[in-house]
């Protein structure tokens, strides 16, 4: 059965201890498109994206209910191994977090190496491919043995994207990937996101509305843990249905 949706999220709830941070989210995320999640800070958008690859649960006291169908299969089903799920999804974090003790090469190859792949030729080709995909190859190809920490912030973030791409995921989850970067580095990452959307399903959390408008095909607006509005980016920005959304995107609050 073919479904155009990569994720189908059904009555998703999430808690931190007794704090209810996501309330009954229903949403379908289209394949090979960029979906942006926007909302004021504390609205649950980071929690939302972390529920998609079961990262939410690694925090003590975290709870989840509801269903998240990935390729039609519920990732919260009892016999699903979260580790397997995470391998199919790359994740990029707010701050660039290359592994500090590893070289650029080892960072890009980390996912494969940690999963037991030792074949040098395969690693070489994957590292090159993913660094190219992350538009970093030309800048680092002569310094592959340097520490990942020696790169600039924007380069580090692209290295993290390359690291995520190296495990050949189907989805890229990006949690405010540009929040720690300057405008030039941000522009590069945005270009990269558009390019990635040709082959990958991208979900990006951002507090920057212009960024959502620039890079995404669909936009979801979260407020206090509830999904207020979800639709095509054009629609949301030009013709929001909810008053709250309109107020938010016109900058009246948040």
């Amino acid at each position: 059965m073919f479904s155009p949706y990569k994720f189908e999220i059904e009555s998703l709830n999430a808690w931190f201890g007794s704090k209810h941070v996501l309330k009954n989210i229903n949403m379908k995320i289209k394949e090979k498109a960029v979906t942006a999640v926007i909302g004021p800070s504390g609205c649950g958008k980071t929690t939302f994206i972390r529920c998609l690859n079961r990262m939410h649960e690694i925090v003590p006291g975290a709870k989840v209910s509801g269903r998240v169908l990935f390729n039609g299969m519920d990732i919260y089903n009892e016999d699903v191994d979260p580790v397997q799920i995470r391998r199919k999804m790359g994740m990029v974090f707010q701050k660039p977090n290359p592994f500090p003790m590893m070289s650029i090469y080892d960072n890009a190859a980390a996912g494969l190496k940690l999963n037991g792949i030792r074949d040098k030729e395969k690693l070489d080709s994957v590292v090159e491919r993913s660094l190219k995909l992350a538009i970093l190859w030309d800048e680092v190809k002569d310094d592959l043995n340097k520490s990942g920490a020696s790169l600039s912030g924007g380069q580090q973030q692209r290295l993290c994207i390359a690291r995520a791409l190296a495990v050949e995921p189907e989805v890229m989850l990006m949690d405010e990937p540009c929040s720690a970067l300057d405008p030039i580095a941000t522009a590069k990452i945005e270009t990269l996101i558009r390019m990635l959307a040709e082959d990958y399903t991208v979900v990006i959390v951002t507090h920057n509305m212009q960024q959502a408008a620039r890079v995404s095909d669909f936009t979801a607006f979260l407020y206090l843990g509830e999904l207020i509005e979800f639709g095509s980016t054009k629609e949301i920005f030009e013709n929001p249905r909810s008053e709250l959304t309109e107020k938010y995107i016109t900058g009246e609050f948040g």
């Binding site: 995470r86 199919k88 500090p100 980390a110 999963n115 995520a164």
Partner: protein, 276 residues
């Protein structure tokens, strides 16, 4: 305010007092180092480094057997102490959400402050009473002294690895245990090595637990179920002896031990400082 002048004077006075107190605390340190180097250096020669302990009244002799024994006891102790300390440190840092970890941390701290002579007696009742005074018993007691130090420093080193690094690995689909072993652990290697080194230095200088688990031994290594000689214990035995050549040996041993222990501290400090 008429008292402003008084307040000023008091302030000045206290400032001087604070620095004076610091100076007073450092005088013993410099005195100890000075004496040990001065008196120790004159007894160090080739014989000192290659000969075993002399018998009473015999001239010359050295501490080679004691260096061998200390290395052996410390080495054996670390075989027990390092794995336990490492794993406990990993547990405290990586599984701090469990109910067990506050209790583990608390009792580790408690054990850390424990008199080493009591730990020595424990080694006596549990091992000496069954196999006799032996290097095994001493290593056991020293290992127990080591465990809380290694645990603590491992925990702290692991906690310095940012949470985002763990998340990155987990998001790559790496199981948690593998994340800990290959990513987090390698990020904390230096700090952990530092902690182990410091704990080795500490137990190399312990004499009280060695005294009650091995006693004094003036020969070479003769088997794991026999005692071995020990530098720190030798210092005690030699220092309270009335023989001048033994007292000289005590100072020489002290120099060796101090070089070993303070050298470790200094190296460790230089290394850890590089990081920041």
């Amino acid at each position: 305010m008429a008292s402003y002048k008084m307040r000023k004077i008091k302030d000045r006075f206290m400032r001087i007092l604070v620095w004076l107190a610091l100076l007073m605390a450092l005088i013993p340190l410099f005195s100890i180092l000075g004496e040990v180097v001065l008196k120790g250096a004159s007894s160090i020669n080739l014989n000192f480094l290659t000969q075993p302990t002399p018998t009473v009244g015999e001239a010359g002799g050295g501490v080679a057997n004691a260096m061998q024994g200390t290395l052996l006891a410390v080495g054996l102790a670390s075989l027990i102490g390092v794995p336990i300390g490492l794993m406990s440190g990993i547990f405290l840092s990586e599984y701090s959400e469990t109910k067990l970890s506050p209790a583990v941390r608390f009792f580790n701290d408690v054990l850390n402050g424990f008199p080493s002579i009591v730990i020595g007696i424990f080694g006596y009742t549990i091992i000496v009473l069954s196999i006799g005074f032996s290097v095994i018993a001493a290593a056991f007691a020293l290992a127990i002294i080591m465990i809380p130090i290694v645990t603590r420093t491992t925990e702290e080193a692991l906690k310095l690895v940012p949470a985002t690094v763990r998340e990155a690995a987990i998001a790559l689909g790496v199981p948690r245990w593998k994340t800990i072993v290959s990513v987090v652990f390698s990020g904390a290697k230096k700090g952990i090595a530092t902690g182990i080194l410091l704990s080795l230095a500490r137990i190399a200088g312990e004499s009280a637990p060695v005294l009650v688990t091995m006693g004094y031994w003036r020969w070479w290594f003769a088997g794991l179920d026999k005692p071995v000689a020990n530098l720190a214990l030798n210092i005690y035995i030699f220092a309270i002896s009335p023989f001048e050549n033994w007292q000289a040996l005590a100072w020489g041993s002290a120099l060796v031990l101090v070089t070993l222990i303070l050298g470790t501290s200094v190296i460790v400090r230089i290394f850890t400082r590089e990081k920041y």
